[in-house]
């Protein structure tokens, strides 16, 4: 009798110690298959002669070799460099300025803040639709300026092969700069006012306060903004599709649109897979050190 209760308790405790692992294991299994297994599979495919469907003829580095000789890919990575630099730079600048200004006991902050942030709730397809039309010279901004009597006004970047990528920057900044503002604002509100008051008593000017005390304390916010924005930039797909469709020609192609078109419409799956691997490596180079540092700090 006593013995059977013992094993009963024993079983219960043993179940209790296993239960957490049991609960976590489906997620782990899903991750291992759908994320890491899939990554391995795509990396493998990038070394094969896959065309319309996956096939397993090993071709070594051929796909990578050919990838970097495709002009559209080179356009795509140049565009990504231009787009990411401007997008991150301008969003950070606008976000930081808005946050600093909003932090000056502004009347109506409660109204302004949601206005700055709402584009983040929209789909990039909606953003693209709105801007595509706003920038269209025939009916948008240019036409309106003409109707107002400013006949010489031209703004046709969206139709211009050289300038079209900058329209993607404008729309993307519109969508995400409010989010950067929210991150910086949270950082600013976390700064101890006593230090600022002490520095003011010592006669520091506002400019010096920001340069010497406030901005250095915003380092984590700068880092987060950089990481999040660069990861968004590399993944950018929807916005380009909705705004320019990658055009004119393929002037606004990005790695994400390149990957999609080579894999699914041009039946060059091997090359598509290779381009996806390059994208992953780029993001990993930014995210892995960041996440590692974040997780380590926690301990």
């Amino acid at each position: 009798m006593a013995a059977s209760t013992d094993t009963g308790v024993d079983l219960r405790t043993r179940l209790q110690t296993w239960l957490p692992k049991l609960v976590l294991s489906p997620s782990l299994a899903i991750m291992l298959v759908f994320v890491y297994g899939f990554i391995a599979f795509t990396i493998y495919l990038s070394f094969t002669d896959s065309r319309m469907l996956p096939s397993f003829g090993w071709v070594g580095w051929d796909n990578y070799d050919r990838l970097f000789r495709i002009r559209e890919w080179n356009t795509a990575i140049t565009n990504l460099a231009v787009f990411a630099t401007l997008y991150i730079g301008i969003s950070t600048l606008i976000g930081l300025s808005l946050a600093i200004f909003l932090d000056q006991k502004i009347r109506g902050e409660g109204v302004l803040r949601p206005i700055f942030l709402y584009p983040m709730a929209l789909s990039f397809i909606v953003t693209g639709t709105a801007w595509k039309w706003f920038l269209d010279p025939a009916i948008g901004l240019e036409n309106t300026m003409h109707l107002w009597g400013w006949e010489s006004f031209t703004f046709n970047w969206i139709k211009d092969r050289e300038m079209a990528i900058y329209t993607v920057v404008i729309a993307a900044v519109w969508q995400s700069s409010g989010f950067v503002m929210a991150m910086f604002l949270a950082g600013l509100r976390g700064i101890d006012n006593e230090i600022l008051k002490a520095a003011q008593i010592d006669g520091a000017s506002n400019w010096n306060l920001y340069r010497r005390i406030i901005l250095p304390q915003l380092r984590p916010a700068f880092l987060s903004a950089f990481v999040i924005l660069s990861h968004l930039a590399i993944k950018s797909y929807d916005l380009v599709i909705a705004l320019t469709g990658g055009g004119p020609g393929n002037a606004t192609a990005l790695p994400a649109t390149f990957m999609y078109s080579y894999t699914f419409t041009r039946n060059q799956m091997g090359i598509g897979a290779a381009s996806a691997v390059i994208m992953l490596m780029t993001i990993a180079a930014i995210m892995v050190p960041y996440l590692y540092a974040e997780l380590k700090e926690k301990k």
Binding site: I30, Y118, P119, A121, F124, I139, V227, L280
Partner: protein, 293 residues
């Protein structure tokens, strides 16, 4: 990481303040203008758009573009309007949001209150999955959906969004539960409460805010997704974003801008509504996804 209300101690002059207000108002205009103009123009007849000023209010107010976008506009080959696709998106988003939130809550609970050797590594693996470019999984995912015979269907998309939502929901709940006093859990354990009892009786009742964050953020992401929808849904099972893109970028016939605008606003409405009603949680979700604090 909630936006607190304590303002800075910085003092500014009158002129500076005037400049600051001007700057802020100009940017408010910048953010409002594209969407606002779209709204105004969705209520105009087409002739007023192609022949007139985009800033002007409609001379002839009409809701015809809205009716057309909803129920008769040509999407792909069928003149169905956006309604069926709107429903597709709802049917896709709701189960995916609920499933990923439930799993994320349990994961977060285990990862904070029942840590074991290797649990940090598992969290790291889950966390990295939030940030992969989804292009890397498109090809194998298409194969798996084909093998499971759910390629091109809404259940297929539910699976995809559930799978790739787990990372984020786990992150939310882990960070939230990390701040929850572990002593309470240990005390309950000593009193004989089991794993699920503690979760149900102690953790869940105080999880309201983070459940809201997870629901809102997952819903926004899944509703706004385009890449998975474009890759894995076909024809009639497409979600709203894909249908909107088909409507706007179809090359045949007259471009009915006003109908496009009405459609775009319909696609934006659910997430905007969520944002307006629960903006506080929306901001928290943004923060939790970036600053892990």
């Amino acid at each position: 990481m909630a936006v607190a209300s304590a303002d800075t101690a910085i003092r500014t002059s009158r002129i500076t303040r005037a400049f600051i207000y001007l700057f802020l108002l100009l940017f408010a205009l910048f953010y409002l203008l594209p969407f606002g103009i779209m709204l105004v123009n969705s209520l105009k007849p087409l002739s007023e758009i192609t022949g007139g000023n985009m800033i002007a209010l409609p001379q002839d107010w009409t809701i015809a573009p809205w009716l057309s976008a909803w129920s008769t506009a040509q999407i792909g080959v069928e003149p169905t309007g956006l309604r069926p696709y709107f429903i597709n998106s709802l049917v896709m988003a709701v189960p995916a949001v609920v499933l990923s939130t439930v799993v994320g809550a349990l994961n977060g609970y285990v990862l904070t209150k029942w840590q074991f050797r290797g649990s940090t590594i598992i969290f790291g693996l889950l966390l990295f999955s939030c940030f992969i470019p989804f292009q890397i999984v498109l090809i194998p995912m298409a194969r798996i959906l084909g093998l499971l015979d759910i390629a091109g269907t809404t259940p297929g998309l539910i699976l995809v969004h559930f799978v790739y939502g787990i990372g984020f929901t786990t992150l939310y709940f882990r960070n939230y539960y990390a701040a929850f006093p572990t002593e309470l859990v240990r005390a309950a354990q000593i009193d004989g409460a089991g794993f699920f009892q503690i979760f149900w009786r102690i953790m869940l009742p105080s999880s309201g805010p983070i459940i809201a964050v997870s629901f809102i953020w997952q819903f926004t992401n899944i509703w706004n997704d385009f890449l998975f929808g474009a890759s894995f849904a076909s024809g009639g099972s497409a979600p709203m974003t894909v249908a909107l893109n088909n409507l706007v970028n179809s090359s045949t016939g007259v471009r009915e801008y006003n109908v496009h605008f009405a459609g775009a606003i319909m696609a934006a409405a659910p997430t905007l509504l969520v944002y307006i009603v629960a903006g506080r949680y929306f901001v928290r979700g943004l923060m939790a996804g970036s600053v892990k604090g």
